[in-house]
């Protein structure tokens, strides 16, 4: 199945992290693409940007943010959108996105991904915000389902329905994080397969994989370990429904050496009917 925008299947990528800058620019490893955390390269003219410039010359770059706060009731920060647009132009970002959440209100930023109540009113509001941002940026936003740890009593629809309607009504693209699907469903006593059945796959342009921490009573999206088998199974389901989608491994704590990341993300190849090797960089 193609996505609505004919955005490319970039293959298998990993999140670009400071720890690996030297390794990447020394060895130019075989990985199809990198995803950056947009905020790490904004408001700085230091070494990270210098490394990123070099890496962007050889690999496709996707921008993924954590502070766009599309669900916040604070006004849209157009100055921040300008910075995103400038960075996207600089690295020739294939696409850019963030999360379906809010990160702060009343001028304070919590630097976390907070859920909204899944109601018609919230949906109308967020659809309107997403459309405004997309119009301003002149490109579709690629929005990710977050890991959530609570459910508001006011919610009138399940998260997956909210996300599906947000995508179809705003025309945004989706980044489907299958680890987040697993974590959210564990935390809310939901069936992840039923969750995946509702996703509009023509909107999905990217998939995230990651590890998490299982605390028994709940799971936390810690990005600090290997992808567990149950999440690989969800990835296989997504692949059967959507076909090949740009797939990215996130690993943000207890970060291993780069070759270990490569080995982990290459496991995805077996679900995509490919050999476990990525393309060499341009």
């Amino acid at each position: 199945m193609r996505n609505r925008w004919n955005l490319p299947d970039l293959g298998l990528g990993v999140g670009l992290r400071t720890k690996h800058f030297r390794h990447i620019t020394k060895h130019w490893p075989e990985v199809d693409w990198f995803e950056i955390l947009s905020e790490n390269f904004i408001d700085t003219e230091g070494r990270p940007l210098w490394y990123l410039d070099q890496i962007a010359e050889r690999y496709p770059i996707v921008m993924h943010g954590v502070c766009l706060s599309v669900g916040s009731t604070d006004p849209i920060d157009f100055g921040f959108l300008d910075k995103l647009r400038a960075l996207a132009a600089r690295v020739k970002a294939v696409w850019l996105g963030d999360h379906i959440c809010w990160t702060g209100v009343a001028g304070v930023n919590g630097h976390d991904l907070y859920p909204v109540p899944y109601t018609d009113a919230s949906l109308r509001y967020m659809v309107s915000r997403v459309k405004t941002i997309q119009d301003y940026l002149e490109r579709p936003l690629v929005l990710e389902n977050p890991s959530t740890y609570l459910t508001f009593a006011a919610s009138t629809m399940p998260e997956e329905e909210f996300i599906a309607r947000l995508a179809t009504e705003s025309g945004c693209a989706l980044l489907l994080d299958v680890n987040n699907v697993y974590v959210t469903c564990r935390n809310h006593d939901l069936d992840p397969t039923a969750y995946l059945d509702v996703i509009p796959y023509e909107h999905v342009v990217q998939v995230h994989l990651a590890g998490h921490s299982d605390n028994g009573t709940h799971c936390i999206d810690t990005h600090d370990g290997h992808v567990i088998d149950a999440v690989w199974e969800l990835y296989a389901q997504v692949h059967r429904k959507a076909g090949a989608r740009a797939t990215l491994l996130e690993w943000d704590a207890k970060i291993p050496a780069f070759p270990d990341l490569q080995r982990e993300v290459r496991k995805a190849a077996r679900f995509r009917g490919q050999r476990g090797r990525a393309r060499a960089p341009a």
Binding site: E39, N40, I42, D43, T44, E45, G46, R47, W50, D53, Q54, E57, C67, S72, T73, I76, D77, F80, W102, G104, V105, A106, G107, V108, N109, G110, H111, D112, Y114, V116, P117, A121, S122, R124, Y125, S128, R129, K131, T132, Y149, L150, T151, F152, A153, A154, N187, H188, D189, G216, T217, H218, I220
Partner: protein, 300 residues
Amino acid sequence: MSRAPSTLAHLQRWMQIVVTHPSGAGAGIRSSAANALLPRATRNIETVVMPSRSQSSIDRLGIYAHMYYARLIEVMTEEYPTTRRILGDEAFERSCRRYIERHPSTERTLQRLSAGFPAFLTRHLPAGRRSVLAIDVARIERAMEDVFDAPLGVPLEHGQVATIGPEEWVRLRVQPSPALRLLKLRTPANDYMNAARGGRRARVPRPRSSHVVVYRYRYQVYRRTLDGAQFALLSAMHDGKPLAAAVRLALRHSRGEPARLAARLGGWFRDWTAAGMLQVPGRPSRYRGRRGSAPRPARR
């Protein structure tokens, strides 16, 4: 664009108060600020946040409350490793928590989160040698963060200095790089940091004034101890004074011996230009190149 539903605005403000409360989510729910927004949550939290099979509503809010402080303290711990060593883990984290409580992040990025931390420590640490050292070290560590992200100016090269005529020297205004900070301290904090970060035994020193420059050369951050004349000269240049006036100020800190200062000036400029610490004003102030070496300015 449609207006934000008032119920959503209330809920978001309420949740932010709850998950950022310094005493945790339970205390946050009971706080007067939260109660004013959603009194029914204070009476019965389950009318706002559902419990799961294995967690209460407060437990679930507590996950966000825990992560709020943990994440921001982790950022500050990375930025202030030597300050932490001086204060000890517990006192450092307590200071971070209080700082975050009073100065929550208001920006999209985290670069400026702890910009006011050294001043906060100055106001809140108890008197004593250890506190004075911690404040000085915190100022250096903050300066290191600032210059790490600062734009690089177009550096003045030593070859250009040699071409400057005597009349021009009098009125020339040479500025330090935008990626440079000058610090006047109450302790030899830079020496302490060298020892602590070098894995050597570092004792809390007796107070003694010192001067430190923190700067970036290309993409590496450096710090050096300066003497009084060097500090006076760089400070005056930073304040935009013509070079002749800056040198006169430096002379006051050079035991009033012009010949002695003159003998040292050439070496300083050689050193500072080699380290990329100086730039000529009027040049483009922000390096936008795509490679590591800054573009060379046209010769005067």
